[in-house]
């Protein structure tokens, strides 16, 4: 056993103690954080230079939808 093996084994044992429900929370939580970040972006970052003239010109909508689908998927499967 090298120090790398010992370190790896210790890390492995620690990760084994984390319940899968907490892991799911981590996956879903990460997606929720990204979603909140997208929603908080200033509109100049998510619209064309001249501003959004149509509803589909705000990228928050598409990005938010993609992430919400992910959140639902990782909550269920």
């Amino acid at each position: 056993m090298t120090p790398l093996h010992s370190f790896g084994e210790a890390l492995r044992q620690w990760l084994l103690t984390i319940p899968l429900s907490a892991v799911r929370l981590l996956f879903v939580g990460t997606l929720v954080v990204v979603l909140l970040w997208v929603l908080s972006l200033p509109s100049r970052e998510t619209t064309p230079l001249h501003g959004a003239t149509r509803w589909d010109e705000n990228l928050k909508l598409g990005a938010g939808l993609a992430l919400i689908i992910q959140i639902v998927i990782y909550s269920l499967l």
Partner: protein, 558 residues
């Protein structure tokens, strides 16, 4: 996987395939008439629309072997393989769209390594360009070979002819039309790919009695597998103890088929730490933000907004890919539970479900997936050779027209190389082992490359000298970990393998990223900061500019 006998193609099938190929060639050649400069060839003249780029991103990501391989992996390991398309793509694409793509687009670069030179120095550019070129050039040969083998096995066609025909066809339209031809043919290919896979999904679900029927059948298959395991344990005490030791893995097999999150001790290559830390946080952003073949098409967008929109559109499309590619693997498991080879799942399902005439649509989908990946890697490898080596080191003042010629010559050379390399691999006995090694190669340098890109953008203090050392040390870390996990090496050293799962490439990337990031941070603090004027040049472009300023800079929005 030899299923040619069950998948005999008929005249209507061949007509569908011929129609698809004719449309692809027509589009590629027609676009070629408008290509006059290097910028047209490498960046589509910066006139590409978001919807085409978004579909191209998805088509490029799904290769011919993925169509069969992802379904096969779902058959063997369950839906966990979908992580590669879901959490392994969507968040990274969204973050990439709003954080990284603006940096690349506003700086007006042709390649990611070129951006790294502006941020760091020419050594960083050269190392990353070399790594990507090596990977792409080898991968071109591997993709041709893997697809040739698959076409030969599934459709009964001659392997050598498949390799040559694919190379000629894809090389032809990429040579003529460059990135624009690649992107617009990808649109057709993406639509055909989704259509073909959707057909199998719908027919498969009808066959098993809908989603409820699929779940019931999968439960029966899992139940039967559990009974078989117990029977083996009863007759074999050694096996009994092995089952006890891997209790977690046995338990997780009961929820494997439809679960995305698998325990650390799973027998599959997809334990959750690898998926979360290795895939979602490192390999996926490295791929969507640092892979030249991916990023290049967004650099060809009409405007920065369209470049971002393309990534968001791609992320939306990515949500449906596992449903049409991986779920058929589960349907195959429900209908044909006794296949020995997972890669036989999708071809067998086609033989079972699709009538003559509709098989041609699936073959077209397979060809579409194959061609969309080969053409992208071909064009991007050509871009790196032309811009990061020839224009950077040999002929800095080269004209746009001459650059176009060089790009086209490079494309031909790469096609010849890819065919040569594919045939060279066929001569080697362990072709499949080589394929796995080259997949691992990507994990070797993607982690370190992403570390320097990420920190370089987020932290002004990061220096070029530290970046070079960090990049090299990160690559060395991956290679060392890989070596220390090889059975022959660990046996000779009298050690245990470092990792307990098969194909631990996700773990290589985690540690390589961590080492590179740490070295870059520490190294930057002890080396001299980059000149302010240089940083200004990179970071100033990241600040949202007024339309007036934007018009004065390359890559500006119009």
């Amino acid at each position: 996987m030899l299923l040619a006998a069950t998948n005999v193609l008929t005249l209507p099938d061949y007509l569908v395939i011929a129609l698809y190929l004719a449309i692809t060639i027509y589009i590629g050649v027609r676009i070629g008439f408008h290509v006059k400069t290097g910028k047209d060839f490498f960046l589509g003249g910066r006139q590409l629309p978001w919807w085409a780029i978004g579909m191209s991103l998805v088509a490029t990501d799904i290769g011919g072997t993925d169509i069969i391989g992802v379904g096969g992996a779902a058959y063997k390991h369950g839906m966990a393989v979908a992580n590669f398309e879901w959490i392994g793509c969507v968040p990274a694409m969204i973050v990439g769209a709003f954080v990284f793509i603006p940096f690349f687009y506003r700086s007006g670069v042709y390649t990611v390594p070129e951006f790294l030179e502006r941020r760091y120095n020419s050594a960083v550019r050269s190392i990353t360009a070399f790594c990507w070129l090596l990977f792409m050039a080898c991968n071109l040969g591997i993709m041709l070979l893997a697809s040739g083998k698959m076409m030969s096995a599934v459709f009964g066609w001659d392997e050598a002819v498949c390799i040559l025909a694919t190379a000629l066809l894809v090389g032809g339209y990429t040579f003529v039309g460059g990135l624009a031809a690649v992107v617009y043919t990808d649109v057709i290919q993406c639509a055909v790919m989704i259509g073909g896979c959707l057909l199998i999904l719908v027919l498969g679900l009808i066959e098993v009695g809908g989603i409820g029927g699929l779940r019931e059948r999968l439960a029966e298959v899992e139940q039967r597998a559990a009974i078989n395991e117990l029977a083996v344990a009863d007759t074999n005490p050694v096996a009994d103890s092995e089952i006890s030791e891997s209790q977690n893995s046995s338990n997780d097999s009961n929820l494997n088929q439809t679960s995305l999150i698998l325990p650390l001790d799973t027998q599959t290559p997809f334990p959750w730490p690898g998926i979360y830390f290795g895939l979602a946080l490192i390999l996926s952003p490295a791929y969507w933000i640092g892979n030249q073949a991916i990023v290049q098409r967004s650099l060809g967008a009409k405007s920065e907004f369209e470049a971002k929109a393309a990534y968001v559109w791609g992320a939306l499309l990515k949500n449906i890919i596992p449903i049409i590619v991986a779920v058929p693997g589960l349907i195959a498991l429900a209908i044909l539970p006794d296949l020995k080879d997972g890669d036989a799942a999708i071809p067998s399902l086609i033989g079972e479900l699709l009538p003559a005439g509709l098989r041609g649509l699936f073959v077209a989908a397979f060809l579409a997936a194959l061609m969309s990946s080969v053409d992208s890697y071909l064009n991007s490898a050509s871009t790196i050779v032309s811009n990061d080596f020839i224009r950077r080191f040999i002929s800095p003042n080269i004209s746009e027209e001459r650059l176009l010629t060089i790009g086209r010559i490079t494309t031909i050379v790469l096609v010849i190389w890819a065919v040569f390399f594919a045939f060279l691999l066929t001569q080697m006995q362990e072709g499949s082992g080589i394929y796995a090694i080259f997949q691992t190669l990507m994990a070797f340098f993607q982690g370190p490359a992403f570390a320097i890109l990420l920190i370089g953008i987020l932290w002004r203090r990061a220096t070029g000298q530290a970046a070079v050392v960090a990049l090299l040390c990160g690559i060395a870390t991956s290679i060392t970990l890989y070596t220390l996990n090889q059975p022959s090496v660990v046996e000779s050293l009298g050690l245990q393998p470092l990792f307990k799962i098969q194909e631990p490439f996700l773990y290589f990337s985690i540690w390589a990223f961590v080492v590179s990031a740490l070295i870059l941070i520490v190294g930057s603090l002890v080396t001299k900061q980059e000149p302010e004027e240089k940083l200004q040049y990179v970071y100033r472009s990241a600040i949202r500019r007024s339309p007036v300023i934007a018009e004065q800079t390359p890559g500006a929005e119009t």
